[in-house]
């Protein structure tokens, strides 16, 4: 069976689902795999449909809500701990992705499941910030020198930092894409437009258009697609929310030109329209067309992404899905670093999987 039940929910958000028991089982499995269980439950709750879901599936939805509700508390606590650890350091700290959606009270935070907290600071301050976080208990677990160098030299982030007591993770970035990437963006340009979310002007989020563009470029250059559908939903949320601001679309297209992110934006808008029927107001159609890459690349990417951006659940996978995901993984590495760097890196990564390092006795 190849039912994209989860896509159906958000393609028709005003339609109350009338599912058989078996449909509910499949939908819950797709939601779990796509990290969307809390979000699905929130949607049902907000539409006042949760109480009429049959007992069996409803218990699972409510369980998902409990988990995402709990995480909201814990992310707030974590951000508070981060803020406190950086009190002496006069550097703007920018929240990215989920943490930003939560602290800026955006719809994309509703029912969300969080993983690491993503932060961005000016490139010149990465070491100082890392030092302050270390003093407060976040350590770098990465022991492999090669991986350390990969991160610090080529990437836009340092290896993940783990808190020794809470086992929570911070990903510390200095920009939103790898410097070696085709879509490299200078962090300083983003920092000029950040928006404070606290009275003390210590914690910030990206400007709305930058948040949208980050989501778009992250989606299409990251190697991991398991949360791809969720990320597209987030992006749709951001667009719906911010398009209420006057001049938003104009600013978005201008900024995408400015930062060279037209192609990721194009692909994002294409798939958001295909999956959710959401499109920019019609007066911008020409602008959208102008974002597009040449036809063959566009069609290929469209097909690859269409397959890969579904929940990684047996009910959604076709014979082609695993292939599509692999191609995208190789491709995304190509986008991040030039080929002569990517191939040795990928080779080493797959080599390491077969020969895990022995622990020192």
């Amino acid at each position: 069976m190849n039912w994209d039940l989860i896509a159906h929910i958000w393609a028709n958000p005003d339609q109350q689902p009338k599912f058989s028991a078996r449909d509910w089982e499949v939908l819950l499995g797709q939601a779990r795999r796509g990290r969307l269980l809390g979000r699905l439950a929130s949607h049902m709750l907000d539409m006042r449909w949760l109480q009429s879901v049959p007992d069996g599936p409803r218990a699972h939805l409510e369980g998902g809500l409990r988990l995402s509700d709990r995480q909201q508390h814990e992310v707030r606590w974590e951000i508070d701990c981060i803020r406190r650890s950086l009190i002496g350091i006069d550097v703007p700290v920018v929240l990215l992705k989920g943490a930003a959606y939560l602290m800026a009270d955006l719809p994309a935070a509703r029912g969300r499941l969080f993983a690491d907290i993503d932060l961005m600071v000016p490139v010149a301050n990465v070491e100082r910030v890392e030092g302050a976080l270390f003093a407060a208990g976040w350590i770098c677990d990465e022991r492999d020198h090669y991986n350390q160098r990969y991160y610090r030299q080529w990437m836009h982030e340092i290896p993940p930092l783990r808190h020794v007591q809470r086992n929570t993770y911070i990903d510390l970035h200095h920009t939103i894409t790898p410097p070696t990437s085709r879509f490299a963006v200078d962090g300083a340009r983003l920092l000029r437009q950040i928006v404070p979310i606290d009275g003390e002007k210590k914690i910030f989020v990206l400007a709305p258009v930058d948040m949208v563009l980050h989501s778009a470029v992250h989606l299409f250059t990251e190697g991991e697609f398991s949360a791809g559908f969720r990320d597209l939903l987030d992006l749709k949320d951001l667009l719906e929310h911010y398009s209420k601001q006057s001049n938003f679309w104009q600013s978005l297209f201008e900024r995408s030109d400015d930062l060279g992110l037209q192609i990721p934006l194009f692909h994002a808008l294409f798939h958001i329209q295909r999956l959710f029927g959401y499109a920019p107001p019609v007066q911008w159609s020409d602008q959208v067309r102008q974002l597009a890459p040449p036809a063959p690349a566009r069609l290929m990417m469209g097909w690859l992404l269409g397959l890969a951006l579904r929940p990684d659940h047996p009910s959604c996978n076709t014979r082609w899905t695993a292939l599509a995901r692999r191609l995208l993984y190789v491709r995304s590495h190509a986008l991040r670093m030039p080929l002569y760097l990517a191939i040795p890196h990928l080779l080493r990564k797959s080599w390491m999987r077969h020969f895990p390092e022995k622990k020192n006795e």
């Binding site: 709990r70 508390h73 508070d80």
Partner: protein, 95 residues
Amino acid sequence: MLTRVKYQLRPAVRMHWASWNDEYVVFDETSGQTHQLDAVRAFVLDFLGESPSDLFNIAAELTKSLAISSSYASELIALIIQEFQTIGLVEADNS
């Protein structure tokens, strides 16, 4: 010597209590931490929950309410506040 620095609960903290026979359990809803506290520690945390206070003041209250000597109270208070700071429930009021 105790300074006049004020201490307070971290603003993010939301405490809930349970107790049996002079044993106390406190739960912070934000961080999700659960701790077992003796009567003195429970008293101090609850006291700070009412309003920020400096160590002198808390020690004086301790001496009054729990009938312990003031020198013992002072030593104890410094230790307890340090513990609460370490687990992240209490902070110095820098305003």
